[in-house]
Amino acid sequence: MKKIDWPLLTIIVLVFVIMVGQISVYWISPYTYGSDVEVGDDGVTCNVYSSVTNEYTFSLFDNGDFPNIEHLYVYFDESYAVVDTTYEEIEKKISDLEQELEIRDLTVNRCDAILLGTLINSENTEGYAIIMMTGAFPDTVYTGNADDALFNWLSEGGSIYWIYDAIGKYSAHSITTAEPLSEVKNYDMLFFNTAGAVNSNTAFGSDPDSDRNIGSALNVMYNESTFGISTDVPCSIDIGFVKDGFSSVSLTKYYDGTGMICVFGGNIISDTHKYLAQTIASGISYETDDFLTITETVDGWTSYTLTLDTEYANPEAYISIGDIPVYGRHYSL
């Protein structure tokens, strides 16, 4: 009987496993997902699909008067100053965020200082949001004065998602100017009308925030509250973790209008883009209330019906698949 060539067999098996892995990663993905939501007499039903066994979370909430965000912009301008980071680093983080938003069926437009100025000075407020990851607003929208266009835009219903450094602490100018960054005093008053609203100490939240049930359902495991917003600021939901009265993730109503300021504390670390994307895509806001959620297993198509005990003014749903979310869809019902 011919002897088995074990070394040859070993390498054939391993190469086969490696090639299957390569095909699975890059060429023919075995992972597909889908979902939809129906409103019926007995409640709201989600239909979820995953080609492999997965965990999914179905959340239902009332978003009050807050409008659905349909237009997303991320600010990036290499001709304007940034705070203690490089353009390359920011570009990479934005690219990571774009991909995370894409799997949640959201597209984000990049805008430079001029375009941002045009947007902020336009009538486009409700349903519009800007994502700031550079540590400073450009001087086309913010110079540190109460009558800056940015505040008017917030008053009228615009939304800001902020991550990296203290919101409003700097105004960025063109890098060709002598002093490309100018520091703003009382920025906490300008944005939150509350002295000491922005944490200036390095901190990591260890206790769950007041609205942690929402963060937990969305799998937002983010606890850096450096530059986080004080839990004393009114009209806000805090979905992360708290330390010394400062939240790691808060969504706050602009004190002089209907706009929203969502602040992620700290720096942009390895997974921040995932949490930020999940927060944006879920559609939650400072108005979010009566948050219901279930987590179940899906393999193929499956359905789940959530019954509503109270009447929702503005019911919205969010479906997320994966313990680390690999799919997300928001529904306005």
Binding site: P7, G21, Q22, Y31, E55, M221
Partner: protein, 435 residues
């Protein structure tokens, strides 16, 4: 019939060692897990499931082979075993989030899958050591010793089943390279070498010994030697291109060795001292590797041709030990030195196992420098331990500086190599001639 056959299988020494090794791994693996690395594998799996590829978003910093294997492991987990979730994420785990972010806590199901695969890889590597010792000595007993030294080495099972690192896979490809080269299967040798380096870059140091071996083996015809060498090199390049086709296609080739370049830049900035010695002394390490190639060349010239393969196996494996005489940072790298210990213990003298034990136990202590975090996964999965208490205690029980321990651990290799050199046939022959 079945009982008899089972009894026969169970009476096999290698099977018995396998059972002992697997039981040790199961016991250790259930209680202890390094969340940091395992957390990365979970994140990489999620990135793959999101169709981001390996390098599309942050999370994966190694050459692609381990990423492909992780993908296959995930496919098996999802399709065959129906594992719905790889991680548990209780809020309490936020307490152990560090500067690198939140650590996804693996489920027992995912750990069983991952550690099971890595245990299998340990067995395969052990069997290849068995085969190499068999070729050298024609003694099943000695080959079994080689297998046992590898498979029961504390460093091996801690790296595979606690750290969930994949050094064993690179060792498999490295050993296959040696076997194929010794059998004149130059294409397969090139393929294996490429896969070894594409898994973890360390086996690249064996390159000089391989070149030397192919040239000596074909010493009668330099042309044949060069042809065989070229065959291997072409096979290695083609294999590497095949592995990296997606990265070439998507323009992310700079990420393939991102882990190494990233580590080098950190060393440059002077904040990651652990890895500095190995990087700064890299020219010396390469000189060592070249010298090992020359050693084989001159050693083989003065010996009978039928001893060449044994010389080749020993010098190749020793090369990995020689380059790791310099403290290399991560304890898991020392897995590459273990085959040399296993081979020499089996073929030369059992006492070498003592220096291996010294090295591996010291490095295991380094791995467990902060021991309590290794219980986090067990605490989260079972609820039998209070995570808050563990986190609190973890901040008080740890070894502040592991660098001295690493130096001590490395001295195990020095002791082994000096002992081996002193007692090598070369030295003995010189002593004999002098007398």
């Amino acid at each position: 019939m079945f009982v008899e056959r089972t009894r026969a299988v169970l009476s096999n020494r290698v099977v018995q060692i396998c059972i002992v090794g697997i039981v040790i791994r199961m016991v250790v693996g259930i209680f202890l897990t390094l969340v940091y690395d395992t957390s990365h594998w979970i994140r990489v799996s999620a990135n793959i499931a999101s169709e981001f590829g390996l390098y599309g978003v942050p999370g994966y910093y190694y050459p692609p082979i381990w990423g492909y294997l992780l993908s296959s492991i995930m496919d098996v987990g999802k399709y065959v075993f129906g594992i719905s979730t790889f991680s548990l994420n209780p809020d309490s785990m936020i307490l152990v989030a560090d500067d690198c972010g939140y650590m996804w806590t693996p489920t027992f199901a995912y750990l069983a899958l991952l550690k099971g695969f890595l245990t299998l890889m340990d067995i395969v590597a052990g069997l290849l050591i068995y085969r190499i010792v068999m070729i050298s000595t024609n003694s099943e007993k000695k080959a079994t010793v080689g297998f046992a030294v590898w498979f029961l080495c504390p460093l091996i099972f801690v790296v595979s089943c606690v750290s969930t690192m994949f050094e064993s896979i690179a060792v498999i490809f490295m050993l296959l390279t040696l076997l194929f080269a010794s059998e004149n299967r130059y294409v397969l040798a090139g393929v294996s070498f490429s896969l070894a380096v594409g898994t973890k870059v360390f086996p690249i140091y064996v390159m000089f010994v391989l070149i030397s071996y192919v040239l000596i083996k074909n010493r009668d015809s330099l042309k044949t030697g060069l042809t065989n060498l070229s065959t291997s090199i072409v096979a290695a390049i083609v294999t590497f291109v095949m592995i990296c086709i997606p990265q070439i296609f998507y323009g992310s080739t700079d990420n393939i060795f991102g882990g190494i370049t990233g580590r080098l830049s950190i060393v440059d900035s002077g904040i990651f001292m652990d890895y500095s010695a190995f990087v700064i002394l890299q020219p010396m390490v390469i000189v060592f590797a070249v010298l090992m190639g020359l050693l084989l060349y001159f050693y083989a010239r003065s010996h009978r041709p039928d001893e060449l393969d044994s010389c080749f196996f020993m010098v190749s494996l020793l090369t990995m030990a020689v380059v790791l005489m310099v403290p290399a940072g991560s304890p898991s790298y020392y897995v590459f030195a273990v085959p040399a210990f296993a081979y020499c213990t089996a073929t030369r003298n059992l006492r070498y196992v003592l220096s291996l034990l010294f090295m591996s136990v010291t490095y295991v202590i380094v791995i467990f420098g902060a021991p309590l975090p290794f219980l986090y996964t067990f605490a989260v999965n079972t609820g039998m331990l209070n995570l808050n208490d563990l986190v609190e205690l973890a901040n008080t029980i740890y070894i502040k500086d592991t660098i001295p321990l690493k130096i001590i651990g490395t001295s195990g290799i020095w002791i082994f190599l000096l002992d081996l050199a002193y007692h090598s046939s070369l030295l003995r022959r010189r002593t004999y001639e002098k007398n």
